[in-house]
């Protein structure tokens, strides 16, 4: 038991340890930001190793906390993503006077996600969700002097509170109709009667809000734009990923009796999400906003993949998230470096970027191609496998629809590439001195983008550990 307590909870323990060490540092004498950042990065790296170190599966606190290879892997992904973000936002963190607090918030939010992913119980799920949201809302406000930042934080906290209200109503009705909170027992009591479907829909809406699927997505763009880049990338990649993992877990494990309805719910959401995301992304000039909408569109594709409700479905989801971490973080990495060092955040500022910063340009370009799904980048495989998983149901109308939307998405990704390489600009962004740490992070991302796709072992491994309906 004790042994399990340490083995199965190792990642959580690590995080908690980091949190407390940071607290003591805070209470102790001033430390230079660099040291703190490096320490945290190191710790996260160790934690990453800890994830891989030993295989563990099972459940604790009778089912409140469950874990298995898949979940550990998912946690590792999130961990990796946080590591990358903290490396990329080096330039920004170095000059902020709240590094420790920032890490406290981010890491506790990560901890919340860990608990959410391995939750075996609606209560734990709810706690994890809130724990991953509330600190982020605070973190979104970290550019204390910026008006946009506080506006973003306000929007985030209010809408998330609202959504959690809806979610709770759903949970309460689930509880009322099944008399239970733990997944393992829940499934048996689910018999698609209207109230349960309603409760389920409320629940799904809560999820849809977190993964920002249309029409629950409206907070996304504003928050992304206002929040500090680090927080934005955290929101766009990590919290989304965590919620998606949980969603798949719930749909495939718990709500199997409602599969017929949630398939169509997912399809509907997917269709609208892709379309609206694309249509809005076309017009954006602010880079973070642009990435926000593009990520919304991506979520649509992910939903298609999930709707396949097969082992391939969840595998392709996790695979895509992995790729998405690399590609999206590569893009955000460049953006964060640029905005930290030159304060420019608009696509139009990137005109003629290649002349001054070829390395960053290539990183950004490859990232965008991967997001667009162009071979040989991994994004191609990710998107293709999602669509394949979706097509397995034989519902080709949505596939065709998505395929045509891919063309629109190509347009706006290529638009950025065009700005970088082809458009002329009298005062382009000057040559930037990228911190080594961030550079390393970007290289990791690029390497990931290239390798993850071509090396099929990655996918095959994910497939082997992932679950089907």
């Amino acid at each position: 038991m004790i042994n399990n307590l340490f083995i199965q909870l190792r990642q959580e323990w690590m995080l908690i340890a980091i949190l407390f060490i940071l607290l003591f540092i805070k209470l102790g004498k001033e430390r230079s930001n660099e040291n703190i950042i490096n320490f945290v990065n190191l710790a996260l790296l160790i934690n990453l190793g800890a994830g891989f170190c030993c295989h563990s599966a099972g459940e604790l606190f009778n089912g409140m906390f469950t874990t298995n290879t898949l979940i550990v892997f998912e946690k590792d992904l999130l961990n990796l993503a946080v590591l990358l973000i903290s490396m990329q936002s080096y330039a920004w963190l170095k000059n902020s006077q709240h590094v420790i607090e920032f890490y406290l918030l981010i890491l506790s939010s990560l901890l919340g996600m860990f608990f959410m992913i391995s939750s075996g119980n609606l209560l734990m799920f709810y706690l994890g969700l809130e724990m991953s949201t509330i600190p982020l809302a605070a973190a979104a406000n970290f550019d204390l002097t910026k008006r946009k930042s506080s506006e973003a934080a306000m929007k985030l906290i209010l809408s998330s509170a609202f959504s959690s209200g809806i979610l709770l109503l759903g949970i309460s009705f689930l509880y009322g109709t099944t008399g239970n909170l733990s997944y393992s027992i829940l499934t048996a009591h689910i018999n698609g009667n209207p109230l349960q479907i309603f409760a389920f829909i409320l629940l799904i809406s809560g999820f849809a809000f977190k993964i920002s699927a249309v029409p629950f997505h409206l907070w996304t763009a504003d928050v992304y734009e206002g929040a500090p880049v680090a927080v934005t990338s955290f929101l766009s990649v990590i919290s989304k990923a965590a919620v998606l993992f949980t969603l798949v877990n719930l749909l495939y494990k718990v709500f199997t009796p409602l599969a017929a309805s949630w398939y169509w719910i997912l399809i509907l959401l997917a269709g609208v999400t892709i379309l609206i995301g694309n249509l809005f992304a076309i017009r954006q000039d602010n880079f973070k906003r642009f990435l926000a909408f593009s990520s919304i569109a991506q979520v649509g594709f992910i939903l298609i993949g999930i709707s396949g409700s097969s082992q391939a479905g969840s595998a392709s989801l996790i695979y895509f998230v992995l790729i998405y971490i690399f590609s999206n973080l590569a893009a955000f990495g460049v953006v964060s470096v640029v905005s930290a060092l030159s304060g420019k955040e608009y696509i139009s500022d990137f005109k003629g970027f290649y002349k001054t910063n070829p390395m960053l340009s290539w990183v950004l370009t490859i990232a965008l191609f991967s997001l667009a799904g162009v071979p040989p980048t991994a994004g191609f495989f990710g998107k293709l496998f999602l669509m394949m998983a979706g097509a397995a149901k034989g519902n080709y109308s949505i596939i065709i629809f998505a395929a045509l939307n891919m063309v629109i998405s190509f347009y706006y990704y290529l638009r950025v590439v065009k700005a970088i390489f082809m458009d002329s600009n009298e005062n382009p962004i000057q040559k930037l001195e990228v911190p080594t740490v961030s550079k390393i992070a970007m290289y990791i991302c690029v390497a990931g983008v290239i390798i993850t796709g071509l090396a099929s072992v990655v996918y095959d491994y994910i497939y082997s550990i992932s679950i089907g309906l």
Partner: protein, 493 residues
């Protein structure tokens, strides 16, 4: 031998180019790689023929089949038949020529050559794939380099053309993707060989054939999805135009061919639509060409017309016509590349492509003019040059079909050879012949690299034109096999 080397060599070349310093190194590396590839292709041809001579009559030679994504049953399955080999030869020739003509590319030369090589890699991979997934993969690999090549180094309204090209091609590949999914979920494999063996239910074919075929049709400039061709070719830098017309439009034709063989019933059911579209493309392209005033536009539109013959040949679904389609692909590849090379040479000297502003170039630059005339004659189907062989084979093939409507289509397409003569002679008469303007009179003739490129292509054209039996021997067994297999598939139903 393992065909993967055909991808590896360009890959290495590309990497080396990235590492190279200075234009001189870069272009030498590029050229070396291209020539090595050409040598490889030649050697491949030799061993291929040797195998055939040794009585190895399997459809695809040099097959190798590794599992790529085990979970999804995706193979990395490569192998070539005569058709693919012809395409590979074509590609390797054009790559060498393309690198030669862009010898003096100063601006961002590293990126330029890198992208050229990358594009060629996509083409090679495409032609050797025997698995629809890898086919699709390489098809898309070849798209983005085009976008960058046109957008960065192009001329005129380059970004718009680049964007249009990229988007239309991507739309095409999106359609292809849908078709491939349909195939995959009804056969549970992407492997072309397996699929041909087990066949696809007719209903499925009928539903998914249009997607796949039209998807590839976009690449092959099938009417009405051809509008990327004129702008794209016109804006692209010389080598890119050569690659575009010479290689990437062939990806489309080749893909259409494969799709038609994979789904024979659907192909038969829809053949009349294909033929109507092809005929429209031929006539329409020819007349549109007649009205152009920009040399590159002339060639681009004529490409639409010529690629119509490819589609026509495929749509006729008989052996001779298929032969014709394949020969036309090769011939058109060489011929258009040559044409674009000549235009590029003229443009780089006179800085105009407007027919009205040129004239009498034969006086100032006899070599380039001769090249131009040869390309023109090839395009209007002069015996002894490849165009004649290709078009005549297509005609003979399509005439085999006794149906009156098909006959009409053949006659109409035949009429295009007159229109072709008109526009080719107009272009030649006004640029090469006639009085020369004073500022053009002093211009220099082709440099050694340009001469080499032109000669290379001309040799290719002549070989096909003078000794068509060679390429015929090369591809006929494959087309025979295709017809046999299709016949079987039909018979089964």
């Amino acid at each position: 031998m393992n065909l993967t080397i055909l991808i590896v060599v360009p890959l290495i070349t590309a990497v080396l180019i990235l590492l190279a310093k200075g234009l001189q190194q870069i272009r030498i590396i590029g050229l070396t790689g291209a020539i090595a590839q050409l040598g490889l292709a030649g050697w491949l041809l030799k061993s291929f023929l040797a195998e055939r001579a040794a009585g190895n009559n399997t459809t695809h030679l040099f097959e190798s089949n590794q599992t790529w994504f085990k979970a999804l049953n995706i193979q990395y399955h490569i192998g070539i038949d005569g058709i693919a080999l012809a395409m590979i030869l074509l590609t390797s020739i054009i790559v060498v020529a393309g690198i030669l003509v862009s010898w003096t590319m100063e601006q961002l030369s590293k990126e330029y050559f890198f992208l050229l090589v990358l594009l060629s890699m996509g083409a090679y991979g495409f032609f050797i794939s025997l698995d629809l997934f890898t086919l699709f993969f390489f098809l898309e690999v070849a798209v983005i380099p085009k976008f960058l090549l046109i957008g960065i180094w192009g001329s005129g309204d380059k970004t718009k053309s680049a964007m249009k090209l990229a988007l239309m091609l991507m739309a095409g590949s999106a359609l292809v993707m849908v078709g491939l999914f349909g195939v995959y979920y009804n056969t549970h494999t992407f492997d072309i060989v397996q699929i041909t063996q087990q066949g696809i239910p007719v209903g499925v074919q009928k539903f998914f054939f249009p997607f796949a075929f039209l998807g590839f049709g976009v690449f092959a400039a099938l009417f009405p999805f051809h509008t990327w061709v004129p702008d794209g070719h016109a804006s692209a830098p010389t080598a890119a135009s050569m690659f575009l017309a010479g290689i990437s439009m062939k990806l489309g034709g080749y893909g259409c061919l494969r799709i038609a063989t994979l789904m024979p019933d659907a192909a038969h059911a829809y053949s009349w639509i294909i033929i109507v579209l092809a005929t429209i493309a031929i006539i329409y392209g020819a007349f549109a060409t007649m009205m152009q005033t920009d040399l590159k536009y002339i060639n681009a539109y004529s490409s639409i017309s010529h690629c119509g013959f490819v589609i026509l040949g495929i749509g006729m679904l008989n052996k001779t016509a298929l032969n014709g389609a394949v020969i036309q692909m090769v011939s058109h590849g060489l011929m258009t590349a040559l044409f674009f090379a000549a235009i590029g040479m003229i443009y780089s000297r006179t800085h105009t492509r407007m027919v009205a502003q040129l004239g009498g170039l034969l006086k100032a630059m006899p070599f380039i003019s001769t090249v131009f005339v040869i390309a023109g004659l090839c395009s209007l189907g002069l015996p002894g040059l490849s165009g004649f062989v290709a078009e005549m084979t297509v005609f003979m093939g399509s005439w085999q079909n006794p149906d009156g409507a098909y006959r009409l289509a053949t006659v109409l397409s035949g009429a295009s050879i007159v229109v072709t003569a008109v526009y080719i002679l107009r272009a030649t008469g006004r640029t090469i012949m006639g009085p020369i303007s004073n500022e053009h009179a002093q211009l220099s003739d082709a440099s050694w690299n340009e001469k080499l490129a032109a000669v290379l292509l001309i040799v290719g054209i002549l070989v096909i034109g003078l000794a068509p039996f060679l390429i015929n021997h090369l591809i006929t067994p494959s087309t025979d096999a295709i017809m046999l297999q299709m016949g079987k598939a039909i018979a089964v139903k």
